[in-house]
C-alpha cells in the first residue's frame, strides 16, 4: 500500500520533518516501509508556456507548428506538436532542449534535443500528463489554467511533487486502522506529539426526502449498513490536484464521485461504494436495499465484466432483490457512476471479515475493498465515511446535497471494555520499568482512555483498535513498547541455573556422521528436496510405492514426499560426474511412510544417512563398492556403533539396491542398513556408469541398541609376527568363512586376520580364487619365532580341506 506525505499532511502537520526520518520512525514504531519514492521526480525543468500561434505543419496533417512564449525561461520558441488539442492561447507545459523528461510508466528517460520534424525545426516539446507520469493515459497535451504564470516552473505552479511511502502490507495485516492515510497520520501524531485533525465532521442531514429502505437479512455478515441518497452531482473529471493525489498512490482517476469514494477509502480505510441511484431505485425514486446471502446457482456480473457463480455463503447487495454488488468486494456491472450521473446512492457498510475473505478466496477476486474488510474494519467508520464523502463532494461540487436522511438500520454503539495493564507485568515483559507518566502519555497519544490505579492502568480501547487488534494486556504492552521503542530497552543477559543441556543423541550422532563422512572419508554433503521428482522415482523403479502426496505442489511432477533419501541422491550423480571423474556423496534426511501413523496422525518418519560413490567408466575404473563398504564400517565403528557385514541384504521397498550384490549392516543380528552395488537397471535408467556403490543407514534402528564405548586391552610387550597366508578356494567360498578358519586354526596366538588380496588369474584354476591374508600372530609372554610360524602354517595346510581350501606356496 502506498501512503503519500502530502496526503498525511492534511491530517497532521509534518513540516520540518525529513521524509527519511518519518520512514525510520514508522519502521521503528509502526510498520515496515519497503520504499520511499519521490512522486513527480525530475519534473523541475518543465516550464509553463503560452501558445502564441498555432499553424498547421506544411508537410503533415496531424502536426502543428506552435510559437510558444516561455517568458523569462527562454522567450518565444518554435515547437512542433502532434497533439490534436493544442491551440493558440493555451497555457501548456514545455520541456526545453537539453533537459531530460523523467521516465514514466514503461518509457525510459528522454533527453530533449533540437530536432527537425518533417523539415520544421522544433525547440522542445509540449507535454501530456502521461508523459509527466501524472496520469496513465492522456488524450493530448495538458492544458493549464489560463492564469498560470508564463515561464514559471511547472512544479511551482502545480504542487504535484510528493513523497510516497511503500508500506509492506504484511506488516499491517493485524491493524485494520492502518489501511488508510488517516491511520498513519494518527500514528505520526503520536510519534511526534503533534495534533491530529478531525475528519468527517458530521453534517446536518435532512430528516426526510428520498426514501431508501435498507433490509439487512444477515446481521452477522453485515453488522452495519449506512446509505445516503445524494442529488445535484456532476460526474465529470476530478480537479487536477485530486487526480494527481490519487495517482501518487497508484489509484487511477475516473470521475469525481468514483475518485472521491476511492479517496475516502484510501484515507479512512473504509470502503464506500457510489451507485448511480437509477440502479437502486424504483421509478418513483424510492429504493429497497437488501443485504442477503446469495441463492445457490445465482450469478452476478461484476464490473470487471466477469460473470460470477455464487453459492449460498456469498453476501450480496440487492436493489429490490436484484443483485447489484458482491458485498464488500466489487459492484455489479453498470452500477458504477458514469459521466452524466446526477444522483447517487452512497453505500458505506461494515462487512464481516470472514465472509468477505471466504468469497474473495473462492472467486480469486481480491480488491482494495475486500482487502480492507478482511482486516476487520471498525463499524464506527462506516458513518464517518458518509459525512466525509459528502463534505469532500460538496467542496468540489457545491450543488451536491443529501437528498434524504442517513439510513442506518443497525446503527453502532461502541462500548469499550476496560482492559487492565499492570505496571509490574509491563516491566516484567519489557525488562524495563517506565514512569507512569510516560506510559499514560503513550497510551493517550494512541487514543486510549487511561485511568491510573494502584496496580497499573485501566485502559479503554478506541473503537478502531478494538475489532481484532487489542484484546489482551499483552497487546497494551506492545503499544507501550513500540512507542517507547524497543531499541531503547537496555539488553540484559539471561540469568539462572547453569547446567549442561540435555543431549539429543540422535541429532549429535547424525552430526558426527556427516562430519566424519565429509572431513575424513572425503564425501560431499548434498541437500535434496523432501519431494522426489516423478521421473527420478520412475528411473529408480519406485514410482508406484505408497507416497504421501502434496495436494498443491509447485509443479505436478514433484508431488511425492520421499520415503527414502536415495533416489534424489542418485539423481545428483550424473551431472556431477560430468565435472569430476568420481564422486562421494552423502546426505542425511527424513523419509515418510504414510502406512503407519503416530498418536497425532502423523506418518512414520525415518531418518537416513545415505551414500553414493560413483566412478566414471574408464579402462582402470575400479568398482567403488569395496571402498564404500570399508568406509561405512569404519564410520560406524568410529562413532561407537559397529556393525557386522556378513549377510546378504534382502530388504524390500528399495529397488535401486542390486538384488544379488548387497550386504546387510547388522547390529546384534538385525539389519540397520546396507552397502550395495547400484541395481544396473536403475543405473541405466539414470544414465549412470557401472561403477556405482550405494549405502544407507537407518539412524533410529542403529541407535536402538546403544553405543559401544571403546575398552582398553593391555598393550602387547612382545613383538608381533606377521604371516602371509594364501588359500586357494572355490569362487563361492566366503572370505568370512576362510577368515574364521584361520582364527580357529591359530587360536590364542591370533591377533588379527586381514585379507589383502583376492586373486583370480594366472596359476589359479577356473572356478577357484586365491584369498591372500596377512595373519598377525602374537603371545603375551614371549617373542614368537620361526617355529611358531611353521607350526601355524602346517596346521593350516593340514586342515584346509575342512573348508575345501588348499594352502598355496
Amino acid at each position: 500500500m502506498k501512503i503519500s506525505l502530502r496526503w498525511l499532511s492534511r491530517h497532521v502537520d509534518l513540516s520540518g520533518i525529513d521524509p527519511k526520518q518519518i520512514l525510520a520512525d514508522l519502521t521503528m514504531s509502526t510498520a515496515e516501509i519497503e520504499d520511499l519514492i519521490r512522486f513527480g521526480d525530475g519534473l523541475e525543468p518543465l516550464v509553463v508556456g503560452h501558445v502564441r500561434k498555432r499553424e498547421k505543419h506544411p508537410d503533415a496533417d496531424k502536426l502543428s507548428v506552435c510559437q510558444v512564449d516561455l517568458g523569462q525561461s527562454g522567450g518565444i520558441v518554435q515547437i512542433v506538436c502532434g497533439a490534436p488539442n493544442v491551440d493558440a492561447g493555451q497555457r501548456v507545459i514545455v520541456i526545453k532542449p537539453g533537459d531530460v523528461l523523467p521516465p514514466s510508466g514503461s518509457k525510459g528517460a528522454l533527453k530533449i534535443k533540437i530536432g527537425k520534424i518533417r523539415g520544421v525545426e522544433s525547440h522542445g516539446m509540449i507535454c501530456s500528463e502521461s508523459e509527466l507520469g501524472l496520469s496513465e493515459e492522456a488524450d493530448g497535451i495538458f492544458v493549464l489554467p489560463p492564469d498560470s504564470e508564463i515561464g514559471a516552473r511547472f512544479v511551482d505552479v502545480c504542487k504535484v511533487q510528493d513523497w510516497v511511502f511503500e508500506i509492506d502490507n504484511k506488516s499491517i495485516n493485524h491493524r485494520p486502522d492502518l489501511w488508510g492515510h488517516y491511520g498513519f497520520a494518527r500514528e505520526l501524531a503520536a510519534i511526534y506529539g503533534r495534533e491530529l485533525k478531525p475528519v468527517g465532521v458530521p453534517a446536518e442531514l435532512p430528516s426526510d426526502g428520498k426514501r431508501v429502505e435498507v433490509v439487512i437479512e444477515d446481521k452477522e455478515a453485515c453488522p452495519r449498513y449506512c446509505g445516503l441518497m445524494i442529488d445535484g452531482v456532476t460526474s465529470g473529471p476530478s480537479p487536477n490536484e485530486l487526480r494527481w493525489q490519487l495517482q501518487a498512490v497508484d489509484q487511477r482517476a475516473i470521475n469525481l464521485p468514483v475518485d472521491l469514494s476511492n479517496f475516502v477509502m484510501l484515507d479512512l480505510g473504509q470502503p464506500v461504494h457510489a451507485f448511480d441511484s437509477r440502479h437502486v431505485s424504483s421509478p418513483d425514486g424510492d429504493a429497497t436495499i437488501r443485504v442477503r446471502r446469495a441463492k445457490g446457482g445465482e450469478t452476478i456480473t461484476t464490473l470487471d465484466g466477469q460473470q460470477r457463480k455464487l453459492d449460498n455463503k456469498d453476501l450480496l447487495i440487492c436493489a429490490n432483490d436484484k443483485p447489484e454488488a458482491l458485498a464488500g468486494i466489487m459492484g455489479g456491472v453498470g452500477t458504477m457512476v458514469e459521466h452524466g450521473t446526477t444522483s447517487l446512492f452512497l453505500e458505506s457498510a461494515n462487512f464481516r471479515a470472514s465472509t468477505v475473505r471466504r468469497t474473495t478466496m473462492r472467486l480469486g477476486l481480491r480488491t482494495d475493498a475486500s482487502t480492507r474488510f478482511e482486516k476487520a474494519q471498525d463499524p464506527a467508520n462506516a458513518e464517518t465515511a458518509v459525512h466525509y464523502f459528502l463534505q469532500l463532494l460538496q467542496s468540489h461540487c457545491p450543488s451536491a446535497k443529501a437528498a434524504g436522511p442517513l439510513v442506518d438500520p443497525e446503527g453502532f454503539v461502541y462500548e469499550a471494555k476496560p482492559l487492565l495493564l499492570r505496571r509490574e507485568r509491563l516491566a516484567l515483559k519489557l525488562g524495563i520499568a517506565l514512569e507512569d507518566e510516560q506510559i499514560v502519555q503513550i497510551l493517550t497519544s494512541l487514543s486510549f482512555e487511561v485511568e491510573t490505579t494502584a496496580e497499573g492502568f485501566t485502559c479503554m480501547t478506541p473503537s478502531f483498535r478494538a475489532t481484532k487488534d487489542i484484546t489482551i494486556e499483552d497487546d497494551l504492552i506492545e503499544e507501550v513498547g513500540r512507542m517507547y521503542r524497543y531499541d531503547n530497552i537496555p539488553e540484559q543477559p539471561l540469568v539462572g541455573i547453569v547446567e549442561p543441556p540435555k543431549r539429543n543423541e540422535e541429532l549429535f550422532l547424525v552430526r558426527r556422521m556427516i562430519e566424519v563422512s565429509c572431513l575424513e572419508l572425503g564425501c560431499n554433503e548434498i541437500y535434496n528436496y523432501s519431494f522426489t521428482p516423478d521421473a527420478v522415482l520412475e528411473a529408480c523403479g519406485a514410482k508406484d510405492h505408497a507416497y504421501i502426496l502434496v495436494s498443491n505442489p509447485v509443479a505436478p511432477e514433484i508431488s511425492r514426499i520421499r520415503r527414502h533419501v536415495m533416489p534424489s541422491l542418485l539423481s545428483m550423480v550424473e551431472g556431477n560426474l560430468r565435472q569430476t571423474a568420481s564422486v562421494r556423496l552423502v546426505e542425511t534426511g527424513k523419509g515418510y511412510h504414510g502406512e503407519t501413523k503416530d498418536g497425532h496422525g502423523l506418518p512414520h518418519e525415518v531418518r537416513e544417512l545415505s551414500f553414493v560413490y560413483a566412478t566414471r567408466d574408464s579402462g582402470e575404473a575400479v568398482h567403488p563398492y569395496g571402498e564404500l563398504r570399508e568406509h561405512v564400517q569404519h564410520l560406524l565403528r568410529r562413532l561407537g556403533y559397529p556393525v557386522e557385514l556378513t549377510r546378504t541384504w534382502s530388504g524390500k521397498d528399495q529397488p535401486w539396491v542390486h538384488p544379488a550384490r548387497a550386504v546387510a549392516l547388522d547390529r546384534d543380528g538385525s539389519p540397520v542398513g546396507y552397502v550395495a552395488h547400484l541395481n544396473p537397471a536403475v543405473a541405466a535408467a539414470l544414465n549412470l556408469p557401472k561403477q556405482v556403490a550405494i549405502a544407507c543407514v537407518d539412524i533410529r534402528a542403529l541407535l536402538a541398541n546403544g553405543r559401544i564405548e571403546p575398552s582398553y586391552t593391555p598393550v602387547p610387550t612382545h613383538p608381533e609376527l606377521p604371516v602371509d597366508v594364501a588359500l586357494l578356494v572355490d569362487v563361492d567360498t566366503q572370505v568370512a568363512t576362510v577368515g574364521g578358519f584361520l582364527r580357529e586354526t591359530g587360536r590364542k596366538l591370533i591377533r588379527n586376520v586381514e585379507l589383502f588380496e583376492v586373486y583370480r588369474g594366472e596359476h589359479v584354476p577356473a572356478g577357484k580364487k586365491s584369498l591372500n591374508f596377512t595373519v598377525t600372530l602374537g603371545a603375551p609372554d614371549r617373542t614368537l619365532s620361526d617355529k611358531d610360524e611353521s607350526k601355524f602354517l602346517d596346521k593350516v595346510r593340514k586342515n584346509a580341506a575342512q573348508i575345501g581350501a588348499e594352502l598355496r606356496g
Binding site: T27, S29, T30, A31, D35, K170, S171, H174, E424, R425, A427, L428, K429, L430, I432, D474, I477, E478, R482, Y486, I489, Q492, P493, L494, E499, P501, K502, N504, L507, F508, I514, C518, L519, G522, N524, E525, I526, N528, S530, I548, L549, V550, S551, N552, P553, V554, I561, G575, N576, Q579, T580, V583, R584, Y592, K597, H600, G601, L602, P603, E605
Partner: protein, 356 residues
C-alpha cells in the same frame, strides 16, 4: 709378510677411492667375509708359534689403522653427500603430491553446527521436530485460528493425508512444552530447533520453497521479589540475539528491534542487523535501508504458553526463528539461494571448513 707394505698399499687405495661407492667396495674387499685385512690377521695361524704374538700385535695395529682410515674416508664422502643434499637445487616448491580426497559439509550444515555449538554452550538443548506436521501444531496451537489469513494463504503445502509440510519451525514450541509439562516441567527451558520448513513459492534467486529455520525458545518461571516480578523479558531477548549474531557473523553487529507481527508472540519483533555489504550505508542487498531483516522474534504469546500447558501468569518466555539460508548467504556472500538445493559440487566444495 710385509705388513707395512700392505698397510701402505691399503692406505693408498683408501686415499685413492674417489667416491662413496668406491669406499664401500673397498670396505667389502678389505673387511668383507674374505676381506684382505681380515685374511691378513687370520694368517697368523700359518706362522710358527713363537712368531705369532709379534705378528698378531703388528697385524692388529695395521687393521686398526686401515679401519680408521677407511672410516674417515667414509665419513668424508658421507659429509659430501649430506652437503650436496642440503644444497639441493632440484627442488620445485610448486610440485604437488598426490591429491588429498577432501570432502565438504553443506554450508547450511556448517553454520547450523556453529549455531548449535554456540547455543548449547549457553545451555540450550538441541531438539528436532517433524517436517510433516499437523494443522494443530502448525497453526491452532500457535494462536493462528481457523479463519486467520495465514491459514488460507496459498503458501502452505497441503498433503494427501490431511497433514501439511510445516511452514515454520515454531510448531516445536508447543510440542516441546507439552512433552515437558507431561514429564513434570522443571524450568528453565532453553531449546533450539533447527530444521527444514516449506512454503509454496516459485524458486528464483532469492526465493526457495524449502528453507531452513532455527527456532529458539526460552521459558522460565516468573520470580516475585521485593522489587516486583522478574522473568524472561524483551531485554533478555535482545541480549541473546545480539550475542548470537555477533558470533555467527564474526563481527560486532549493530541490531535494531522493531515491531513485527506474528500471532504466536506478543509483542512481536523483527530484528535487523546492519548490512555487512555496505556497513549500513545502503546498497542493493539491503534495499538502501542499511539494515537486513534477519530474525523474527517476540515474547511468547500467553495463548501459546497455555496451549503448552503453562500458566502465562507464572511463566514468560521469548522465541525466535532465524532464517539459516539468509545467515549463510550473509556469511559467505552467496547471491543465489538456489545453490543450496542444487547439488552442484562446484558450489558445495567451496566450503571445506570445519566448524569452528
Amino acid at each position: 709378510m710385509d705388513i707395512t707394505g700392505k698397510q701402505d698399499e691399503w692406505l693408498q687405495a683408501i686415499a685413492a677411492a674417489s667416491d662413496g661407492p668406491a669406499v664401500a667396495e673397498l670396505e667389502a674387499r678389505l673387511f668383507g667375509q674374505k676381506g684382505e685385512v681380515l685374511e691378513m690377521v687370520r694368517s697368523v695361524t700359518s706362522l710358527p708359534r713363537e712368531e705369532r704374538p709379534a705378528f698378531g700385535k703388528a697385524a692388529n695395529g695395521v687393521k686398526l689403522t686401515v679401519d680408521k682410515a677407511l672410516a674417515a674416508r667414509k665419513d668424508g664422502f658421507a659429509q659430501i653427500e649430506l652437503n650436496k643434499e642440503l644444497n639441493a637445487t632440484d627442488f620445485d616448491p610448486t610440485e604437488p603430491g598426490p591429491r588429498a580426497r577432501t570432502g565438504a559439509m553443506h554450508p547450511i550444515t556448517i553454520v547450523q553446527n556453529e549455531l548449535v555449538d554456540l547455543f548449547t554452550s549457553m545451555g540450550f538443548q538441541w531438539e528436532d521436530g517433524p517436517e510433516i506436521e499437523s494443522e494443530y501444531f502448525n497453526f491452532d496451537a500457535l494462536n493462528i485460528p481457523g479463519d486467520h489469513p495465514a491459514r488460507e494463504s496459498q503458501d502452505t503445502f497441503l498433503l494427501s493425508d490431511g497433514n501439511l509440510l510445516r511452514t515454520h519451525t515454531s510448531p516445536v514450541q508447543v510440542r516441546t512444552l507439552q512433552r515437558l509439562v507431561k514429564q513434570g516441567f522443571e524450568p528453565p527451558l532453553k531449546v533450539i530447533v533447527p530444521g527444514r520448513c516449506f512454503r509454496s513459492e516459485t524458486v528464483d534467486k532469492t526465493h526457495e520453497h524449502s528453507f531452513y529455520q532455527m527456532e529458539g525458545l526460552v521459558v522460565d518461571r516468573v520470580q516475585k521479589g521485593e522489587n516486583g516480578a522478574t522473568g524472561i523479558s524483551t531485554a533478555n531477548l535482545i541480549h541473546t540475539m545480539k550475542t548470537c549474531l555477533r558470533v555467527i557473523l564474526e563481527r560486532d553487529v549493530e541490531v535494531r528491534l522493531r515491531p513485527g507481527f506474528f500471532p504466536f508472540v506478543e509483542p512481536g519483533f523483527e530484528l535487523d542487523v546492519n548490512c555487512p555489504f555496505c556497513s549500513g550505508k545502503g546498497c542493493s542487498v539491503c534495499k538502501q535501508s542499511g539494515w537486513i531483516e534477519i530474525l523474527p522474534c517476540g515474547m511468547v504469546h500467553p495463548n501459546v504458553l497455555k496451549e503448552g500447558g503453562l500458566d502465562p501468569e507464572e511463566y514468560t518466555g521469548f522465541a525466535f526463528g532465524m532464517g539459516l539460508q539468509r545467515v549463510v548467504m550473509l556469511r559467505y556472500g552467496i547471491d543465489d539461494i538456489r545453490h543450496f538445493m542444487g547439488g552442484n559440487l562446484r558450489f558445495l566444495s567451496q566450503f571445506p571448513e570445519v566448524p569452528r
